[in-house]
């Protein structure tokens, strides 16, 4: 089990002939991901690393039955690439591209609402189900299969957390980077129910950061509905207000979106919040012991 992606996922890479796209497509192939097609308008007909390239997502889907798209298209064209994948009925769309304007993402969100597709990202590391399938840019080697689900707004901080887990012998069911932009395709709130239903996931790690109210919304859901233990870390406790900390979404404005407030509501919802980024692994260890103690 696990969620979103597994060894049967059939991936089409949009932007496969670009520098980033070709490099990461190769990395995913090496991990064992079934990349069945690539798309670059104007470069259809060639074969790259054994993967057939098509002009359009539609052709790729018809020829290869791809059901998941991984997008590396540059920011000015990325929203259009997502819209194409939605229009072709691709079920899971994972967009790595950083720097898509919010205005374009508003369009995308509207199209998503009318469709059956799910979007992860943009501006995210992607999704990995360790040992089965990697659809993204995360280093595969630090992961190991197991029972902790990871949800994160960050990239390298997620690697840090996963590394702390793997070093303690704690494996992961599925790790998802939801992205650091103000508008993302899937929020914590959208994905937590999938982990709730997944029998392979025993504990969830939620890595948030300053800005927005995604963590607060997740806290309400966790308090009311989520039955598995949740461990969290919120980055940006020392960030000054009004300054964008790298991610477009990471900004404290009008007194909203502070780490302190997020930590408070998460703790109220029964979430174990790691006091420092160095203690994510041991906090999860504690949560797992509690699960074992109960059963």
């Amino acid at each position: 089990m696990a969620i979103l992606v597994d060894r049967d996922t059939r991936v089409v890479v949009q932007g496969i002939t670009g520098k980033e796209g070709s490099f990461h497509a190769r990395q995913c192939l090496q991990y064992g991901t079934r990349i069945v097609a690539g798309v670059t308008p104007g470069k259809g007909g060639r074969v790259q690393d054994g993967v057939p390239v098509f002009h359009t997502v539609g052709e790729a889907r018809r020829e290869t039955e791809a059901n998941c798209s991984l997008i590396f298209v540059p920011p000015p064209f990325a929203a259009d690439a997502i819209l194409e994948a939605i229009d072709e009925g691709i079920q899971l769309i994972i967009c790595i591209t950083e720097g898509i304007p919010v205005r374009d993402m508003i369009r995308v969100r509207e199209a998503l609402n009318r469709s059956e597709s799910r979007l992860i990202g943009p501006n995210c590391p992607g999704v990995i189900t360790p040992g089965q399938c990697k659809v993204g840019i995360m280093p595969g080697a630090i992961h190991r299969p197991g029972h902790v689900g990871v949800l994160s707004r960050s990239g390298t901080l997620t690697y840090e957390a996963v590394d702390q887990l793997s070093r303690r012998g704690i494996g992961q069911s599925t790790c998802i980077g939801i992205g650091g932009d103000p508008i993302v395709g899937s929020t914590f709130l959208d994905l937590l129910p999938l982990f709730e239903k997944d029998p392979e996931t025993h504990v969830v790690v939620l890595i948030g950061e300053i800005g927005g109210t995604a963590e607060e919304e997740a806290a309400v859901y966790i308090r009311e509905r989520f039955r598995k233990p949740v461990v969290a870390f919120i980055a940006g406790q020392t960030a000054p207000p009004g300054r964008r900390m790298g991610h477009a979404g990471a900004i404290i404005s009008g007194g909203q979106g502070t780490a302190q407030e997020k930590i408070r509501v998460l703790e109220e919802a029964g979430v174990m919040v790691a006091p420092s980024p160095a203690e994510i692994g041991q906090t999860v260890e504690r949560a797992l012991r509690e699960v074992a103690g109960e059963s």
Binding site: P75, R103, R107, P139, I142, G155, E160, Q237, G246
Partner: protein
């Protein structure tokens, strides 16, 4: 990206939103001339800085004679303005906006911003004009009206009617007020804003509907669609190191501590700052060299970090994923040698080929400490003078 009030008002005019008559002055004499060129017998002199809270801080002054306009301008242009949003050092005032004074019959707040959870833009309108909107949302939530924009920036006429009627706008001013709200939404979309705000939007004694203030923040990610933004940037308002960093595609924000941080990835960079605070130190900056952390980015980052005289120790925290740690270690060694590092350095490398990377650093002969784990790295940095 933030722009000045006078720049925002130019954009307002282009989009059919009326603003008071006025002009920009960079000297007291220019301010006097500006006043003489305006009709009426009252003026407002407004300091142009990229921070709010000007009114309460004495940055907006009323004048009844051109002499008074001149002396107000002299005072404002002479010293940095400290407001609740500028920090204790304040911001230098390089220009003032001199405008006609208008009688206010009614004032409201109108702003367009992005509602993240809904994934769309919203218009917020409140009858409590002049107040900070966050304050209104907290203290008078019943007086705050929200209308969702279509994804193409459209505010439908019925939506504009709904809020203006709710606001009790007098009949004569209704059509124009509704027009302004629609123009503001259109402007927000077409100019790729993250915020477009009129606070206050007023009905004047002579019946005009005017934006007394104007605030626009552009959405940085959309810069590729707006080459004209570059010319609207105010070099005086940017920290020179931050400007240098952004030229090299680095995210750098200067802070007040003395531990210089160099980290790959924004989340990890924030977490590193937090870690430093936990063990009793103060970060000198936020610096994200990008998730991939190329050798070139590391080298530029070094130069920027070391230009800050406050930095007493440098903490490097890199989680090498796709980019291997041995490659990063070579970059660090080369950059440190080239720049003649005088401050001590603590390096924490993790991820792909971390051991080889750490060995390269240890053998480099540089004055650096190789730490394991984020906590140890932060502790060592604090011990080395980062207090």
């Amino acid at each position: 990206m933030k722009i000045h009030e006078f720049q925002a008002k130019e954009i307002f005019r282009r989009h059919g939103i009326h603003v008071p008559r006025g002009s920009l002055a960079r000297t007291p004499e220019e301010a006097r001339e500006a006043a003489l060129a305006l009709p009426g017998d009252g003026w407002v002199v407004k300091a142009q800085i990229l921070a709010g809270g000007r009114g309460k801080a004495g940055g907006i002054l009323l004048a009844s004679t051109p002499d008074e306009v001149e002396s107000h301008a002299r005072r404002l242009l002479g010293a940095p303005l400290v407001t609740s949003q500028t920090g204790p050092r304040g911001r230098p005032v390089r220009a003032v906006l001199v405008e006609e004074r208008v009688d206010v019959i009614q004032e409201i707040y109108a702003g367009v911003t992005v509602d993240r959870s809904e994934g769309r833009a919203v218009l917020l309108v409140s009858s409590a004009g002049g107040m900070e909107v966050e304050e209104v949302a907290r203290s008078h939530p019943q007086s705050l009206f929200r209308e969702k924009l279509e994804s193409d920036g459209t505010l439908h006429p019925f939506q504009a009617r709904r809020v203006t009627f709710a606001m009790g706008v007098p009949k004569e001013a209704l059509p124009e007020m509704q027009g302004v709200l629609q123009h503001l939404c259109r402007l927000f979309y077409e100019e790729d804003c993250s915020l477009a705000e009129i606070n206050p939007l007023i009905i004047a004694g002579d019946g005009r509907v005017l934006a007394l203030d104007a605030k626009i923040n552009f959405e940085d990610n959309a810069a590729f669609r707006h080459p004209d933004w570059e010319s609207m940037k105010d070099p005086d308002e940017e920290d020179p190191l931050e400007r240098e960093a952004s030229r090299h595609g680095l995210n750098y924000i200067k802070l007040d501590g003395n531990i210089g941080c160099l980290v790959n990835g924004a989340g990890l960079a924030m977490a590193t700052m937090d870690m430093i605070k936990v063990v009793g130190g103060e970060p000198a900056n936020f610096l994200d060299v990008g998730g991939g952390a190329s050798e070139e980015a590391v080298s530029h980052a070094f130069r920027i970090l070391l230009s800050d005289p406050k930095v007493k120790v440098v903490l490097i925290n890199i989680f090498g994923g796709i980019m291997r740690c041995d490659v990063i270690a070579r970059g660090v060694v080369r950059a440190a040698a080239e720049l003649g590092m005088e401050v001590p350095m603590v390096v924490r490398l993790e991820g792909t080929n971390a051991e080889e990377g750490r060995r390269l650093l240890a053998d480099s002969g540089l004055r650096l400490i190789v730490a394991e784990g984020m906590r140890e790295a932060a502790q060592r940095a604090v011990e080395l003078g980062g207090r």
